[in-house]
Symmetry: D3
Subunit: 178 residues, 6 copies
């Protein structure tokens, strides 16, 4: 299986916040946004591997600025790295107020999807080839995020996570690539 | 403001997986589950603080076993610790196949909600008083998870996270309480 | 087939009233509530018999206090008696205003579900064993409600409904167990 | 306030059963049908009184023949009698299989709606004038159904329900007009 | 295959405009109305041909008066002419304000559906027999509308559309039957 | 008010066809697609004029290839010309099968939106400046489409539509730019 460029998987969604998507403040509910992000991540994963796939995990995500009723939700998703049978997808979300004409960051996240064969077993996916500088930087951080996921899932001991451990003894931030 | 027992915020949701909630494998889509988890977390937060609140962040979550079409999704949410204006909510999700009569773990997560006053500014919430052994254990882990959130959000340097850092020099796992 | 305790079928749903669930007064529409009650009843029936089942009938239900937009809808369902192929499910609904901190009764109802085999024919279900005093009282009333259902469906003549008929010649109320 | 003819409130809905409306047998879920019936009843009530109104109660309803995925749900609603501030609405539901070309009865029910003034208090509605023989017959049965509703809601003692009581000492059926 | 009277396919839908159906002005969104019109057209097509069918095209439609939140959307659909494998359906939409008691035209459109056999290939449908004067007038205009559709789809040259071309050299309006 | 480049209004939507979006053939229903196209058109209009706006009309649209369940619906919308208070939006729709790796045209349409001031009255919008060759070609055709809309809405006589009339006497096709 040949590797594929990161750009192949890039996908854009734009949605309008409707009344039923909002909480009592008239802001987009977090759960509704995660629903859309999951759909965007699934499309990006499908574009990369051309197999059915499903959500395996979602990394820490924090909601910066609430998106208001009637505003546009702009979501961009792109596969950031492929492992044997799984893909990490990088997602960025902005709100846009078309009337007041400004755009604001809402959140950024990493979803992991696993490709499945017809019997529902994980199957190999093509490698991901990063091209731009940003794609390369995010590709490099993927190993560290993967160690963190494994530790948080109780599948790796913190002191075995060499790369991640280094962060706690150097002034560099884990969060910097977010 | 007096503290409140953890049990006060406990809430249960049960839902049935309908066709539109599933991916091509007939399994519940991750995004749809996160939507329900967010609603459950919001109700638990509301029961604790009696103020409107909104999703601030969601910790790493991994989907263990897919929940099938027609199965029951069982969600339990309870506030695990309160900080000045925010609450961490612990959520557990099971699937249940009523016909084959078995129940299986789906995932477990921590959501953080922030309480807001009528002008949309964060406001103080009551302290949380853990009572059972499990509530106390999860309450204690909340500081470490909070440090991790701050680091991942780029708001804290890893080497300043004393409690979290200790994990990388001891054989204990961050993920153990999950 | 062995009988099963009533408690086995007990199920709780909690939902938030969203804008699309409300009428022009900002109150939960009756039809939306009945939709949720039917899902709750179906889960309780499934927990009792472990077969697919479907709604056969719904007893008289009256809406006492409207549930407001943003309030929690709390639904509890439990099988109250099993007949040969059908189950009567007792459902109670409360509204809860998390901000003003009070809970109010919304309605109470009896749904009847029938269990079906793979060809869609009714199949036998386990007997129900009431344990608590309330379960026993509601179990006893089920015969009378069943006579009323048969009369209202035109399948029984009023003067053949011995137990129900007695109510009209004694000062006791049919409605008392509601 | 002048009385209004029953025909004024007559309303028809037709819907298609979509995948998300069905249970595991591919049949329309009872709860989804009740949701549609409630909307139909609300429109009929609105046509009669020209005030906002909301669901007060639903009489016993039994589901005769399940409606299949892809079939048409045909609902007819008409106010059957008006009381001081409430209206009883008679609803009939059929399924229609357009491919096999047959129509089948699904169920029949009586909903009661109450008219409200802007402060949410019950307000008077016009009297209903039945014209056809069927309208008159259903109009006449409304008093008996109202007594039954009051008894079932615990607001009337069975032995005070003169008209209803008579049914239990005569060979006539309560259910006959269903 | 025998022809069928136009009246056989006549179908009525009534819906209430709920919050999620509206734009920021509280008016029914055009897209939501087109969704309902398509369902109505599909039911009319199904009643005429008794085969599964799907949307092939939608003629120009203009939205005259916006329908307000809480108002009734009244849709009438009837097959206006059948061609070999396709049916033109005429749809009229009104809004109705039940409180202020007036009805207003919203729009009028022609949808074309094509009947399909189980392998998804177009199949013959019965001819349509117009009976009333209005049915005949609309039946006659169908040829002209079909020419326009073919031209707009790039499948016919304007100067080959004899009937349509005549309109541009006579004072009669294409739009008059709308 | 200064004119704006066409590219400013360009917007992309990507959606997945879920079970409830399909007809009995497992293909996307026309009405559901029109719902999404209307949202896309509304966002493009909002990006151009920065005012609230609503659907005024939809030009003839024909569905070429059905989009299958699970496929991606890719929608692109861009304002093609602005008139005094209205904007014509050009929309193109493709289906994409991620597993079989091919993309297919679904349809193409022109929606017209009108900008509104807070009292719901039409208000002026900026002129549209086409830049690319395709934008210029579509901009030029807009007058002809507008004449056709006016004729079809009964607001212009065919023999007054000079530009459109010319098409019927020359071998050029109205549909060619579709």
């Amino acid at each position: 299986m040949e590797g594929k460029n990161a750009g192949v998987s890039f996908i854009i969604m734009n949605e309008i916040v409707l009344p039923n998507d909002t909480n009592t403040f008239g802001n987009l509910m977090g759960g509704r946004l995660m629903y859309w992000m999951d759909i965007a991540a699934g499309m990006a994963a499908g574009k990369h591997c051309n197999f059915p796939s499903m959500t395996a995990s979602v990394d820490n995500l924090s909601f910066k600025t609430p998106i208001k009723l009637g505003n546009v939700v702009h979501i961009e998703a792109k596969v950031s790295r492929a492992f044997t049978t799984s893909m990490e997808i990088h997602i960025k979300v902005w709100g846009e107020d078309l009337l007041k004409q400004y755009t604001y960051e809402s959140n950024e996240a990493y979803f992991t999807f696993v490709a499945l064969d017809p019997s529902g077993k994980p199957r190999s996916v093509p490698a991901l080839i990063p091209e731009t500088d940003e794609e390369k930087r995010i590709f490099d951080g993927a190993l560290r995020r993967r160690q963190l996921r494994l530790i948080l899932a109780g599948k790796m001991k913190p002191h075995d996570a060499a790369e991640l451990k280094a962060l706690f003894t150097t002034p560099e931030s884990i969060g910097e690539e977010n």
